[in-house]
Point group: C2
Chain length 211, copies 2
Amino acid sequence: MSQLAVDQNEAPEGARELLLHTASTIMREGDIVDISLSELSLRSGLNSALVKYYFGNKAGLMKALLDRDMQGIVHAVDALMSKEWDPEARLRHHIGKMVETYYETPYLNRLLMRLVRESDPEEAHRIADSYLSPLSRAYDRLIKDGVKQGVFRKVDPQLFYFTATGACDRFFSSRLVLKHCYDTEALTAELRDRYREHCIDFIMAGILAHN
Amino acid sequence: MSQLAVDQNEAPEGARELLLHTASTIMREGDIVDISLSELSLRSGLNSALVKYYFGNKAGLMKALLDRDMQGIVHAVDALMSKEWDPEARLRHHIGKMVETYYETPYLNRLLMRLVRESDPEEAHRIADSYLSPLSRAYDRLIKDGVKQGVFRKVDPQLFYFTATGACDRFFSSRLVLKHCYDTEALTAELRDRYREHCIDFIMAGILAHN
């Protein structure tokens, strides 16, 4: 395979997904929001010219990774909101899924902020409209439903969006704290499960009406 | 003043503090965790050779800024823990102060993680021992006191440290979300006050025992 160019016939099946998967793994393991193309090539076993073929350049690869990860979240939240569940069951489920998502993709919020910051206004708007606004609308509906039914205390859905996501994300985005203060690796299934239970318990206690 | 070197007699009084203050302002306004020395010189009105004189280089300036900001927090938490307050009053006060701190220095957690990540092991340990461990011990004592007195629900102090700080920080570290979804600037005193009340209300509801 040429180092300089790839045509469609040379691109192995599933290569695009493998590049995204490998980039995700590198950023997750290294606790970083960047990759080197030579490491990507080495770890995936794929020619780095395929990055150019599929994504144009590294920035395009990062954008495609954000799209992959955020589309998964927006679809899951849409599916949740279309279920006939009560607000408490919905929120409880959502918090657990959010912790699992940040465990799988601990770089996600930093990647999102970085791409919004570094993109031109048009692309920043696309990201906001495609991913941030749908999530914000879902929170709005979910929290207002619960408040109306008397299940939730009167909480501002917009501010709650920040406290809840910040709480669920912190453990994984600040895992250097765990490493250096407690000699603990945050990315283990056991700690993920403990943190998920803690977040569900803590956030639900913070929002449920205590009649 | 020479562009190349500065001796003590040429360094204006308060220049070190002004450089740190200006660097902090630039990162706060720009929502970034980096500065250009030429912008620092322009905004402070000081010769950028003073950076070399006081801090060695830009990395040294960043380290001094982290020290300035984190020492302030550790002193404030020490003072809080030496007061004869009950755990509920202490935590309520601490949450409010935490939101105010992230409003003033929204870059702080990212700067901390960046310097821990980029430092050699010895310096990473110094940061952890000087700032992270004292805060972790204070949380441990504060939460355990409250649980023992039956004021707080049985919460893991270590996990609570992440949920509470993550909740208080998110609004200011993710202010691009506000900007692009709601056309709102997060760094206003009015929004700071609303978010502070929200965080106090939400976190206290999440941890107080409801007998």
